[in-house]
């Protein structure tokens, strides 16, 4: 198996090599092979139930590959010992499909927890940083609310604030704009691009929102439920116009053309 970045070029953010994902005997996707470069906004797309969320779980170590490997940079994530894995994950932030805020803590405490665990900031400083992160996602003033007391869209944004708490190098988003109104979805897209530009983060997004796929995606992979593997990878707008695969073009044009 070729090591990613072995040819001396800048190492990729994440490299997926011959990955097969399965739940028990049920193979979901096989032979996934793609590279996410630093600074990419990488879109994972495909029909409902094809395994996008599952792929994301593999990338952050919540599921183990049935076969194949995930690399962070040039280092194997799949075969790293637990302690090393934890260190690698410290450079990563995740926004879950459901927000997944810790329900027994206020929004500020949610954002503050990783700061308290992994930095040497004082209480007051942590509180300040947490307030800043919440303000960035438009939730200034909601520091002391509990997740149950805010709307689903706001929970999602608070989840984003938590994911950004440690200024991660790689941010994962599972369906960030699902359940958001068009304006907030647009705002979120802008925020994602802003994060990439200002912090230099690499961003991996699972989404079916065509509009945001074309607006922000710089690279992508298309998972097909039928053939159980990836059938296209590349810049989304190019895939839409020039992909050889009919399914991909149909998906990206909403079935028209």
């Amino acid at each position: 198996m070729a090591d990613p970045g072995a040819n001396g070029a800048t190492p990729p953010a994440i490299a997926v090599r011959d990955l097969t994902m399965a739940y028990g005997d049920f193979v979901l996707q096989r032979d996934l092979h793609f590279t996410i470069d630093v600074g990419d906004i990488f879109v994972i797309m495909g029909g409902s139930g094809c395994g996008k969320s599952t792929l994301l779980r593999h990338l952050i170590g919540l599921n183990e590959p049935a076969r194949g490997e995930v690399f962070y940079g040039t280092e194997s994530f799949t075969h790293a010992p637990p302690g090393r894995r934890a260190e690698m994950l410290r450079r990563v932030g995740v926004l879950y499909q459901s927000g997944a805020l810790w329900s027994s803590m206020t929004l500020a405490e949610n954002v503050a927890l990783p700061l308290g665990e992994f930095t040497t900031l004082s209480e007051a400083e942590i509180r300040e940083v947490a307030a800043l992160k919440l303000a960035l996602v438009g939730l200034a003033g909601f520091e002391d609310y509990y997740p149950a007391d805010i709307s689903g869209g706001m929970q999602k944004r608070a989840g984003l604030a938590r994911a950004m708490a440690l200024d991660p190098e790689i941010l994962f988003f599972d369906e960030p704009s699902a359940g958001l109104d068009p304006l907030s979805a647009r705002h979120l897209d802008e925020l994602i691009v802003e994060l990439r530009d200002s912090l230099g983060s690499t961003i991996v997004v699972v989404t079916h929102e065509l509009e945001s796929i074309f607006a922000i995606g710089t690279n992508s992979v298309f998972l097909d439920a039928e053939s159980r593997t990836m059938i296209a990878t590349g810049v989304p707008t190019e895939l839409r116009d020039h992909s050889e695969q009919e399914q991909v073009r149909r998906f990206l044009k909403r079935g028209e053309g």
Binding site: I60, E87, V92, Y96, S98, S104, L113
Partner: protein
């Protein structure tokens, strides 16, 4: 041949050319039942037609009942390779059928669980039991490591979580513990009084209630209350955190859920159960005293002195020790079932039930072990 429903009619007729005509007429509604597919099957068993034609001109009203029947009939026909003709059906019905058949059935979506014989089920059960047992052991191993780390001061959880858990699983349990242990003392006193009255030795009711409560019953009954109260709550809390991906969020931040969620829960019950046990012992003795004073004509002072004489320090310490162990067992059972919980809301309910069962079985087994060990040690 034809079948009548209260309002509709299904007729199967064979034409000379080998065509089977399936004709639906009248009104077919879901609340009157579906047109019977088995009639069609029987007809097909008699002789395979060259073609099946569906006709629905006579339908005055139809809904999903007809659609489901036609979809079923079509798939039967397709399986036996008989061509079908739907041109005799109303336009809307045809379109719905096309829609239902647009995406072919995913053949491995049904995971073969329709194989339903005894051996198959036995095998599945065995594999499942083995898997659960392994995950129990994994949890306990992981827990042992975490506790080891905690003693070296390297486990991380929030003090405020522990304080909150102590309040929730200690002080807030007082009313129910009061009620149940008081009544238990009362019941024990009655049981003893009936026997002891025959010897005119009713004062020994105090000995009986005191020793029974302090040695065993206080810790046991408090444990059972807490298994229902805290064990179930722990399982439900952790289970729903799993459903909402909150545990995933902890793990990807390299915050161990064992440190952060399980440890404070075990610590809270381990600390609170001895206190609750002591309190329960006292309430039980008061319950006994209530019977002694009100029904056996003993004076309160006399009763309490008799109790103090009968109960030794080693009884008290032994009982409190048992309480602490039960507390740990209940919390471990609750957290274990919570961590094993599936990813749906019905799984959370099952986890809570399993936590109570596991918790109670664990403390009863422990109680038996203690009884034997204390007997051998002569305590």
């Amino acid at each position: 041949m034809s079948v009548q429903s209260p309002t509709g009619e299904l007729a199967l007729t064979r034409l000379p050319g080998g065509t089977l005509v399936v004709r639906l007429a009248g009104a077919w509604r879901l609340d009157h039942g579906l047109p019977p597919l088995h009639e069609l099957r029987r007809e097909l068993r008699e002789a395979t037609p060259a073609r099946i034609a569906f006709e629905g001109e006579g339908l005055t009203h139809w809904d999903s009942a007809v659609v489901a029947f036609l979809a079923g009939a079509s798939s039967i026909a397709r399986e036996s390779g008989i061509p079908i003709d739907r041109s005799g059906l109303p336009e809307g019905l045809r379109r719905l059928l096309d829609l239902a058949e647009a995406v072919p059935e995913k053949d491995d979506a049904k995971d073969g669980s329709n194989i339903d014989d005894f051996v198959h089920r036995l095998g599945e059960k065995a594999i499942e039991t083995h898997r659960l047992f392994r995950s129990d052991l994994q949890f306990l191993g992981h827990l042992a490591l975490t506790v080891g780390r905690a003693f070296r001061g390297r486990a991380r959880f929030r003090g405020s979580d522990l304080a909150y858990l102590i309040q929730q699983n200690g002080f807030e349990a007082l009313p129910i513990v009061t009620l149940v242990t008081f009544l238990l003392g009362l019941i024990l006193a009655f049981v003893g009084a009936i026997q002891l009255q025959t010897f005119g030795a009713t004062i020994f009711v105090a000995d009986l209630v005191g020793v029974a409560m302090v040695r065993d019953m206080g810790a046991l009954i408090t444990g059972i209350i807490m298994a229902g109260r805290s064990g179930a709550a722990f399982a439900a809390q952790l289970g729903s955190m799993k459903v909402t991906q909150e545990i995933d969020a902890l793990e990807t931040m390299s915050i161990s859920s064992m440190d952060f969620l399980v440890l404070p829960r075990i610590a809270a019950l381990f600390l609170m159960m001895p206190l609750l046990t002591l309190y329960g012992d006292a309430m039980g003795i008061l319950g006994g005293a209530f019977v002694g004073v009100s029904m056996l004509d003993l004076s309160l002072v006399e009763y309490l002195f008799q109790t103090a004489d009968a109960v030794s320090m080693s009884h008290v310490v032994g009982g409190v020790f048992k309480g602490a162990v039960y507390g740990a067992l209940i919390a471990i059972a609750g957290c274990l079932r919570g961590v094993q919980c599936g990813r749906s809301s019905s799984a959370v309910g099952e986890a809570a039930t399993a936590a109570v069962v596991t918790g109670i079985v664990a403390i009863i087994v422990a109680c038996g072990v203690f009884a034997f060990a204390f007997y051998v040690l002569g305590i």
